[in-house]
């Protein structure tokens, strides 16, 4: 327990520093973004037939509350706000605190990412074991190569192919948002069914693109464990196959759990392509939108949230390892 607390303390301290650094970086990057959102809005209004003066006034209303004051002042305000989880107010959605926008979007990212990752983890791990056991055969080769390929293919390629196939050529699955509005939100079959139907393609893409990595990782992990003496020893003691298998699986899967936690953290931010292609309104899509809208506050907030989730995932992964690996738990280094 002591070790866990100690590690946690260290991690939290480091994580906090990281967040400050990232916040600073994002603040300065974002403050240097060129392009005047006011000009664009003005153009839009004029194109829409509004008189130039009126358009100018309308724009002033919209952007009138833009931060003023010295850069340093803005910076300290920003950091001060951070301490209260105040990420400022979205520019493109006046009146809405960034945090609200983010939590709304995060909702839509977390669920499919979680499901997709866990799904791919399960399938990948099982097939990885298979690939390891059959590694000298054709099947093992096929699994490994397909794993490498799927691992190598960029997410957007997969996503595009899936859309072409399942939403365009054989239109059986929706690729337009998270749920059909006609169903009353809540715990009813229609709504949940619609949620699931809409999540199929994004989830499958996550799963497919992550699957290769799991297969490869699990394969190499199992191969390592298979070479470990204790497995042969267990067999020579006449242990049941199922028990030997459990030994293999548990030892092989251990390092993968760390990767799992990390990848969950990473995926929160890495979902950009999938969300863009499937119009899934999560953090990634929101990040793109905020970039396109020049919504500094939102952009910075999203970036910060994504980074923070990775930091948290790092910590969780480490603590998790501490809990499940007796070697680490007792303070020995398991490397």
């Amino acid at each position: 327990m002591m070790i866990i607390t100690r590690r946690l303390a260290g991690h939290l301290a480091r994580g906090f520093v990281m967040i400050l650094v990232v916040a600073t970086i994002s603040f300065f990057i974002i403050n240097n973004i060129p392009g005047d959102p006011m000009a664009a809005r003005y153009e839009k209004l004029v194109e829409g037939g509004m008189a130039p003066e009126a358009a100018a006034q309308a724009v002033k209303v919209l952007y009138g509350f833009q931060p003023t004051g010295s850069l340093w002042q803005q910076y300290t305000d920003f950091m001060g706000g951070l301490l209260h989880f105040d990420l400022g107010v979205s520019v493109s959605r006046p009146g809405t605190p960034v945090l609200d926008v983010l939590t709304e979007a995060a909702k839509w990212t977390v669920l499919p990412v979680l499901v997709g990752t866990l799904l791919s983890f399960l399938v990948g791990v099982v097939l990885g074991v298979y690939a390891a056991i059959k590694r000298t055969g054709k099947l093992g080769d096929a699994l490994a190569i397909s794993g490498s390929l799927l691992h190598g293919i960029p997410q957007y390629v997969l996503a595009l192919l899936l859309v072409v196939i399942f939403a365009t050529l054989i239109p059986i699955l929706p690729a337009d948002g998270p749920v059909d509005i006609l169903f009353d939100p809540g715990f009813n079959a229609g709504y949940i069914g619609s949620l699931i139907e809409h999540a199929v393609l994004p989830v499958v893409t996550y799963a497919l693109s992550a699957y290769g990595g799991w297969v490869l990782a699990m394969k190499s992990s199992v191969v390592t464990v298979l070479g470990d003496d204790f497995i042969l020893a267990a067999e020579l003691r006449g242990m049941k196959r199922s028990i030997v298998f459990r030994y293999i699986a548990r030892n092989a899967i251990l390092p993968l759990f760390t990767i799992l936690a990390l990848s969950l953290g990473l995926l929160l931010g890495g979902a950009v392509f999938i969300e863009k292609i499937f119009n899934y309104p999560g953090l990634g899509l929101m990040l793109i939108d905020s970039v396109n809208d020049r919504d500094y506050a939102l952009m910075g907030g999203a970036f910060l949230l994504i980074t923070a989730s990775i930091i948290v995932a790092n910590i969780v992964a480490d603590l998790f390892y501490t809990v499940i690996d007796p070697r680490v738990r007792s303070g020995e280094d398991a490397s």
Binding site: G35, I145, I153, I288
Partner: protein, 302 residues
Amino acid sequence: MSDTLIPEPTMSTSATMRRNFWLGVWRVMKRKPSRMFGVIIIAGFAFMGVFGPMFFPAQLPDNPNAITQPPSWAHWFGTDPQGRDVLALVITGSRYVLLSAAVTALITVVFGTSLGLFSGFKRGRWDTVLMRVTDMKLTIPGLPLLLVLATVWKFGSPIQMGLVLGLLGWGGVARAVRAQTLSLRERGFIEAARGLGLSTRHIISKELLPSMAPYIAMNMLIAVTGAVYAQVGLFFLGVLPYESDNWGVMLNLAVFQAGAMITTNALGYLLAPLLAILLLTLGIVLVVDAMDEIFNPRLREE
């Protein structure tokens, strides 16, 4: 004892060794036909990147009367919304993609390797500081950062593009190289070299680097794929300035302008760059598979 015959291998020195090396590589490649295939693919892409654009006029001929055509004999992958041959676009576009990927790989590997080597070799305070920086770098998510950066910087040329991607990508390599360095450091032969008073330069360049060559080479190939994906992806998202024959722009236009998701006419326009990426991935996967054997003299000769 000494004036015994000057042994035969002394004369053979580097030239033969090099020959032996390539013979060994040949053997490794021959062992699995798939590797040959991978090498052919990669060589093909390299050729395409270097010489491909020379086969086409600087301005590809367009035809406003045959825009977004489905594949045909004249145009294997059809035409784009300007009526240009899609295949020609993919080929001429490969230079940008591959050049910037090469720059990325170079920076990633040179920067990552030197940093990892330095960190692992020096250890101590330097190591701690550098690894903290690396950790931090690794924690910051690449794609979102690129999205944000894309609004600040203009990635005007493939070199600049590669530069930025390279500067974002060295973390993993540095980590891996450091780990390798730390583990090799513990090996007798590094210690022996130190004991013999060999220079740090010798130790790093002659003892450490060759042992890490497979990792570095592997990382380089992975960096190449990573860079290709990242930049094509960014262009695809449309956050980078447009280049008419860039693969990512092609994807973007195919989807968002030509309607590849809607009409089969534009499918070729979408699939051509996708296939190019897939093929490149395949080539790299197949070659990475051989990397370990190529650099390990034992596996090479067996």
